[in-house]
Subunit: 293 residues, 4 copies
């Protein structure tokens, strides 16, 4: 039970728009993904490769993260890459491999849409549509996400204040889609030993200001695989409703983000460690019913 | 003539992609807008309101900036706004007013495209397509801009490093469009007395690393109209090829960015002051031939 | 046991000076404060008011944090304040109250030195000398701290990179004092809903790069008392060796940092919650032997 | 004459303390250094090496900058260095060389004090005491500077907001010393192609909020010698009252900051270029009367 001394929100002076504002909705929003509820008492673990690179890579990684206890599979078919000359994703071919991996493992999938013109196609294949950090301010895309019938995993922009982030989330809700999962993934600072600075204080802040579930991506947030376990545990201790972890069957061969991708065996250990932290704060990781697979 | 001691680029350690790299093209790119060359010895002044709000506002402001010496008219028909509940722009109606203002004043126009699906329509009406700061990482939009047949005014992302900015510009050039105008418009820092921190050191840096013209937007870069003249002069002194200035016929009534919009009479003075700085560095403001109007 | 895949440090490219570098010392440094070891398996909790305001306030708060389980008492006698017109601390009078509180509670005390000329006096009264964030680059002060015979609690500068922080710590060690406790306390970013951005990734980073103990100050790091418990738990989960928490017997009357100071009753709860997180990662909070008091 | 539309200060919401506030003093403060007035209509150029390295280096550079038109000589005898293992300055020996250089060239000198215990000695030799960026929050040092009888060149902290900077300047004025020269020297941002981000918008901001003179240091602000001329010109165009430029007789041999130090011949050209910008805004560089030397 929270202290009576913690109920003053006025000190923050944040402007929070209507629909995402927790004052507009007394109970926490639980986003239902085929029976998995994000935002309830159970912790959700999303895992998989940065990009879908080929059929074998995705299926093998999917089985590995599934057996380790992941609840949802991630993998990018459309990749926002800094350079136009690097791997840009497999496109629809990648979406088909994701559908196949879902069938094989029973895991719902999440993948990113980058273009308003792709939204219908992405929604046809995916269980959750991801809007990536670079597109947090892409308002036409947010509106399309608000009109689609799928839950939206909406990442914080790498330079967005929490206030701007919530204003942007409001674009999705204002189009009628309330199934929005927030995700802290690191902000840009002057520090350069890490890829970004994972802003874990955003977790209690977002949980307090909104009714939406909040997860954390420590892979992008740090950029170093060896840091992921520490920051994943910290995220859960801070109150996150879930994690999004990059895992690759062969990180050294990854076409993107290899340095921050876990080896499957390390992901096995991570899930065990997270379970202990979850229990220490009175929560647990969601476990699928055997019949689903 | 530049000092022999200034020719060492290796100290910067920046990675600059092929097509934007000045090493790939010995002469500076001059973008030709109906006879106005951006990137040559003459300074170009783009001015106009943040948003096209209605016919009267645009036409009146257009005439005012034209008679004060502006070379190109700006005005947004599609506006990327932080909140979904604020004015989002007039859309195609706004584009039509821009076309009318061009006819009345003889000024070419620049306006922003935010959605890949709008690109054809925007290009039909405008002389220069603007890609805004919030869309610097919107790669599908950049590719569309690279395929359109119009020059592109490409603003730096508010949190982008110069290196990332050039990687993003490369997306446009790699699709075959070399007519790209770079624009510094302020980056996000901890300083909060200004809206952003105008990074004028990006001007000599971009001029050195690339062959593309570089202009500066001191209106967004500062957020305060009274700062615009100082920073506009500083931008020209730093070597910018032009300016983009927000001017509104009635700033107090503006639907967006009123605090940073100049009154028309102050813009008149600004152009005169800029002319003096231009002369001090051996340049001048471009002046239209009378017959064009 | 850590994964074999986590042993590549080269990816970080950080320059770590000799004496703080863990390569120069295979075992972790444990700083011994009257029998309390910081940097071993046990978690240390430092608590107390931001500033020593008067005798009653300090003694009452000291007893409260002592009975709740704190291990070390904090309190500033010399305060680095943003404005010259606000309370600057009690000076030597404050140091005397700290000595009295130590006698009453048995808790060792930590207090800040700001001026090379104060170092001898501060060392006479305190068990640990604190160098504050604003003085991280105050090299003459660091050298004096390196020459004093007391352990040093050395806070990260609010804008310092980890690399610079370690270079500064090296100033202390290079003068012969190896008893240095590092402390992450938030860095400055563009985010403005929190006072600073607590950079918890600095915890695993510092633990890996150096042999020194690392603690976290979530009070300054967030600026909001209601955020302190979440971030304190996250800090321990991330691997911190201890916490530094601001507690005030009457936060609403505090002369400084009232908004981020815990009520004593909330601190009681915090210690219990921290104990659970500590156990989840195989550690525990240090408990004094009864005979010591 | 400034526009009537620029007189609203309330939009900034900055808190400016009493003594530095321009509302408390209607006329601009002109700091008088042996007859050179900083903060009047004339531009002041401070130049010299980062550090006093030896007698020959200082005297040679001093003569070079003097004959090129510099008004004041800079040179550090006490150096705040990131690493304890690099050159820390010559101390009093360096101060003596500065005094000798002053005698030879007739230029007043400015040098940094880092420690309250050094203040008397530094003041004995120097015409202006510099408080460096790393010591902006070193309040005991500021108080000593406020008590000394010499003008103070007070650099902005590399991560300080303008508001904090002015609060810190107030420490000096509140001790009775009103001869304070403010200096923008770059702030820390995520951009990494430049050493810092020179915040030229701080120039009009500081000039508006305070009555104190404002100069700019483009050498530290950029970190690259080839950028110094562009940014020096921009600083003057933005309204700065002067410049502080690092010049070294042999930059490649410099013990610190060699990459950002101008060659003497390039400094000659810089002064000429600055003169033209100064004239374009109705100012000029201060020129010594021949009899002074």
């Amino acid at each position: 039970m929270e202290s009576k001394h913690y109920n003053d929100l006025s000190i923050m002076g944040c402007t929070v728009p209507t629909r995402v504002n927790r004052k507009s909705k007394s109970d926490a929003t639980q986003v239902n993904i085929n029976g998995i509820h994000i935002g309830g008492s159970e912790i959700i673990v999303i895992a998989g490769p940065c990009a879908v690179e080929n059929r074998e890579q995705l299926l093998e990684t999917a089985k590995q993260v599934s057996s380790a206890g992941a609840n949802i599979l991630r993998g990018g078919a459309f990749k926002p890459r800094t350079s136009p000359y690097t791997f840009q994703g497999l496109g629809e071919e990648g979406l088909k491999y994701l559908a196949e991996a879902r069938k094989e493992t029973g895991l719902p999938v999440v993948t990113e849409a980058m273009d308003t013109r792709q939204m219908d196609m992405v929604c046809k294949y995916t269980d959750i549509v991801q809007i990536g950090s670079r597109n947090m301010h892409n308002y036409p895309l947010l509106k399309e996400a608000g009109r689609c019938k799928k839950p939206v995993l909406f990442k914080r922009g790498m330079m967005a204040t929490v206030e701007e982030y919530l204003m942007a989330a409001e674009y999705i809700l204002s189009e009628g889609n309330q199934d929005v999962i927030l995700c802290e993934r690191g902000i840009r600072t002057f520090e350069n030993c890490t890829r970004f600075t994972l802003d874990l204080s955003a977790v209690p802040l977002l949980k307090r200001l909104t009714h939406l579930p909040v997860i954390v991506d420590p892979s992008h947030g740090t950029g170093h695989r060896w840091m992921v376990p520490s920051m994943a545990k910290a995220a859960i201790a801070a109150g996150a409703d879930g994690l999004m972890i990059e895992v690759h069957n062969k990180p050294l061969d990854a076409l993107s983000d290899g340095k921050q991708s876990l080896y499957p065996e390390d992901f096995v250990q991570l899930v065990k460690d997270i379970e202990k932290i979850a229990q220490a704060i009175g929560r647990k990781i969601y476990h699928r019913k055997p019949s689903l697979v």
